[in-house]
């Protein structure tokens, strides 16, 4: 009970400590959006030849006519009420747009992460147990290729092979076959919702759509995961406690998993944290390539259209996700290694 209270206190303290950073992110994005070339008012005007009066009128309607500090204060006031502003492009509140698309992005990233870890951990362990063998070198080559080739190239390559040539993968656009009815929205995660709706056809279809984009992302981040798993595992297997465990006749499997891998997890977690950040960034291109209706492609479109509010909302959401992510990783450290103390 006391332990739980302590964890709650730590989480609260960490979140409070993140507020200045989030504020900094707000300021930078806000200013950056306004000094970048491109004027939303002229883009929104009825025709390219619209007169200056019309543009000034639109500008006033959008609240873009005051000085930047004043605009910022207005923005902060709106934020305090949970209002992220309106998107010019979709005509919807940004919060609504983001919440609608966030599950798509998270589903993609989480599946990619799980796939990357599920492949990287065994490969890293196997490479560490047989260093300098063909397996070890092969793992390294594949990992390096994955990180060296840009994600959009990998994505297009996968589409070419598995959709165009082999025809194994479904049409690589969107989250679900257009002819299928989506399951009723509960969590927004199609895999989860289709299971909740007991709709195996939708689940299969959603999973099939996910395979290629998730694989593209997973390939991109596998290399660092494999490399750190291999290094940490090599060190763990050479450590004194592994030697002691062997001297006491504890079985090979148990030595590798409980005495080796279990103690090698902390560095792997560290890298997993940075890998998730990489995934968030890399998903922008992957969502584009696969026409994935996520927040990354949404904000990219908004950026191109000079649509301020969605970009600001997106950056703020990303910053929040990073804060929570770091917290989760730190708490996971504590689980992985009892010697870690949280401050």
């Amino acid at each position: 009970m006391a332990g739980l209270m302590r964890i709650v206190a730590i989480v609260a303290r960490r979140l409070a400590a993140a507020v200045p950073a989030l504020f900094g992110v707000l300021v930078v994005t806000f200013v950056l959006m306004r000094i970048l070339p491109g004027d939303p008012a002229s883009l929104m005007a009825s025709s390219p030849s619209a007169g200056p009066e019309e543009i000034a009128e639109i500008r006033a309607r959008l609240g873009l006519d005051g000085p930047i500090p004043e605009q910022f204060l207005v923005y902060l006031g709106d934020l305090a009420q949970g209002d992220l502003g309106q998107s010019f492009v979709t005509g919807q509140p940004v919060a609504t747009d983001l919440m609608e698309r966030l599950p798509a992005s998270l589903e993609l990233i989480l599946v990619a992460l799980i796939a990357a870890v599920a492949v990287a951990l065994p490969l890293g362990v196997a490479a560490a147990l047989r260093p300098a063998t063909l397996l070890d070198h092969g793992v390294r080559v594949v990992g390096t290729l994955g990180v060296a080739i840009p994600t959009f190239v990998t994505g297009l390559l996968l589409i070419y092979v598995f959709y165009y040539r082999l025809g194994w993968a479904p049409d690589p656009t969107g989250r679900l076959d257009v002819f299928l009815d989506p399951p009723p929205r509960i969590t927004g995660f199609l895999l989860v919702d289709s299971l909740l709706a007991a709709d195996p056809a939708a689940f299969r279809a959603a999973a099939a759509q996910l395979v290629l984009p998730a694989a593209t992302l997973a390939l991109f981040v596998m290399a660092p995961l494999v490399r750190i798993t291999r290094a940490a595992m090599l060190e763990a297997m050479a450590s004194e406690h592994v030697r002691a465990a062997r001297a006491l006749g504890i079985g090979r499997r148990r030595v590798v998993l409980v005495y080796g891998l279990r103690t090698a997890l902390v560095p792997v977690l560290t890298v997993a944290g940075t890998v998730i950040s990489t995934l968030l960034g890399a998903s922008v291109l992957v969502e584009k390539v696969f026409a994935w209706p996520g927040i990354a492609s949404y904000s990219l479109d908004a950026l191109a259209a000079g649509d301020f509010a969605p970009v600001q909302g997106f950056v703020l959401l990303m910053a929040l996700i990073y804060v929570v992510l770091n917290l989760v990783i730190d708490l996971a450290y504590r689980l992985a290694d009892p010697r870690v103390t949280l401050a």
């Binding site: 004194e240 406690h241 465990a245 006491l248 006749g249 079985g251 090979r252 409980v258 009892p338 010697r339």
Partner: protein, 544 residues
């Protein structure tokens, strides 16, 4: 069940690498019976650890058995398959390692580790194994095993970790236990507890114990027989007490001579006459250092608690105590590396305790108080050569440059008997003894008046320790140094110091002239420390 448990005959082990092959064991033969303790002693590089590792089939990577046999309970282990070795290890043949904290899985509770071993060899359910683990911890000297069982290794002291490790090692009642320096990382009191536990287990279960150690005192007290190793060979073997009392082999004799123990003076250790001690003036009149009511706490923990003492000019005062007693903190306070929370440190007439440690390098007294660090390796910059290490204080404190600097460094190297050609080497290419010499030369560089020595010979082989101690004594006498000598090793302090301070939990519990204190310790704590000192050779071991 045959009496003969372990029979090693003509064993050869070599470390093979692409470039060369280094012989670690060169025809070692020995045997061990049930209920017997055999100590394998020797200095580093003798191959004693390799011998222990070979006996349990866990040689370091690259090491190969080149010839000979290892028979355990009649079975040849050299040709045994891995699966067979896995079944034997922990069940019939077990091992405890030097550094207990590193040998326990850091992310696994102590109880879980014991359960792992039990379930690896016996058909036990988790709950049954837990009950057995608890009983084992109780046997290992934890009257209340539940908190220990739930603890992670980092939450326990080194001694507790080692006893937990022993509980793991003997969980399946092995017939033979190999203990590689089981107490090297422990202080005196824990050492006694661990060794007594091992000795009791040997007696109770008629186990065989192969005790690998560099400590002749430990071997003399606990072992039935002793085998002395030197560069891969056994040079002498026999009953422990008589072998050490009347060594036949010259190497054994040299080892015995170099080991500090009761009744041996520093002049005996040297083998050559040391310069006679300088006659001191009226020393008491002006102490070089006087410390009063000195305190230091780290967070909640009180490291040094109202300590006061006086160090006369030319005097050597020893500070003894177990780990955690505050000795090293005291050394760092006096040498002004950290700031005290309260109290005074007077160096002659200067109140150096009032000067901030962060600014102390700019004060003239910095030159006059120098420290020799405990960890000779860690306290040398790995990127600096021995020359740079010694030259650094000369450049900074005395502004020496060029030829004058080089000449002074060479003079210092000569003073600490460090071969001049070693001056170009970095720390990793020097031996432990050579690093210690560099550390001493660096401390002497600024011609200090007070030398604070924090465990200067920890981790050194006895022969190297003997030469370092002799060197220190010679320097002390030649240069008229005053010394504060921190050590957990009472035998060393007894030889080196005029007076002794006994510390416990941050306080000085007893203080007195060396001989009085050792002959008639007043405090129960001091009596325990003194009783735990190794005595062997000419005298009959009568402690325990």
């Amino acid at each position: 069940m045959a009496e003969r448990l372990l029979e090693i005959s003509d064993l050869g082990v070599a470390f093979e690498s692409a470039e060369r092959s280094v012989v670690a064991l060169d025809g070692v033969s020995l045997s061990l019976d049930r209920g017997e303790i055999l100590a394998v002693v020797g200095e580093s590089g003798a191959g004693k650890t390799t011998l222990g590792a070979a006996a349990i089939g866990l040689l370091a990577p690259g090491a190969q058995i080149t010839r000979g046999k290892i028979r355990f309970d009649g079975e040849d282990l050299v040709t045994a398959y891995d699966a067979r070795l896995e079944a034997v290890r922990g069940a019939a043949l077990s091992m405890i390692a030097q550094n207990p904290r590193a040998a326990l899985n850091p992310v696994r509770r102590v109880g879980e580790g014991i359960v792992d071993v039990l379930r690896a060899h016996r058909d036990l359910g988790r709950a049954e194994a837990q009950v057995a683990a608890r009983a084992l911890l109780k046997r290992a000297g934890f009257p209340d095993p539940v908190p220990i069982e739930r603890a992670y290794p980092h939450e326990l002291s080194g001694g507790m970790c080692q006893r937990a490790m022993i509980a793991m090692a003997v969980a399946c009642e092995p017939a033979l236990l190999i203990a590689d320096e089981p107490t090297a990382a422990l202080d005196t009191a824990s050492e006694r507890a661990v060794m007594d536990l091992l000795a009791d287990l040997v007696r109770e279960r008629r186990m065989g114990l192969l005790l690998v150690t560099h400590d002749l005192g430990l071997a003399a007290h606990y072992a039935d027989r002793i085998a002395v190793m030197r560069v891969g060979r056994i040079v002498e073997e026999g009953p422990a007490v008589s072998t050490l009392a009347r060594p036949r082999d010259p190497y054994t004799r040299a080892l015995v001579t170099a080991t500090p123990r009761a009744g041996v003076r520093i002049d005996d250790l040297a083998g050559v006459p040391l310069p006679s001690r300088r006659e001191q003036g009226p020393a008491i009149a002006s102490p070089i250092l006087s410390v009063s009511r000195l305190s230091k706490r780290f967070g909640q923990a009180v490291a040094v608690d109202e300590v006061g003492f006086v160090l006369a000019r030319g005097e050597s005062v020893g500070v003894v105590g177990e780990s955690g007693s505050g000795k090293s903190t005291l050394a760092r306070l006096v040498s002004r590396l950290i700031d005290p929370d309260a109290g005074r440190i007077m160096f002659e007439d200067a109140d150096i305790g009032a000067m901030a440690a962060a600014r102390f390098h700019a004060v003239p007294e910095r030159r006059r108080i120098q420290l020799v660090f405990q960890d000779a390796t860690g306290s040398l910059n790995p990127r600096a050569t021995a020359f740079d290490a010694i030259a650094d204080p000369l450049r900074r404190l005395q502004g020496l440059r060029g030829e004058a600097l080089a000449a002074r460094v060479r003079e210092l190297a000569l003073q600490v008997q460090l071969a001049p050609e070693l001056l170009d080497r970095r720390a990793h290419r020097l031996s432990g003894g050579q690093r210690t010499r560099v550390g001493i030369a660096r401390a002497l560089a600024s011609r200090p008046d007070l030398l604070v020595l924090d465990e200067p010979t920890t981790g050194l082989d006895v022969s190297v320790q003997a030469s370092i101690l002799t060197l220190l004594e010679r320097l002390k006498r030649e240069l008229g140094l005053s010394c504060l000598f921190i050590s957990h090793d009472l035998a060393v302090v007894r030889m080196m110091c005029d007076r002794i301070l006994v510390m416990r939990e941050g306080r000085i519990v007893e203080e007195g002239d060396t001989e009085c204190l050792f002959r008639a310790p007043r405090e129960a704590y001091t009596q325990r420390l003194v009783a735990a000192m190794p005595e062997f050779g000419t005298e009959r071991p009568d402690w325990g």
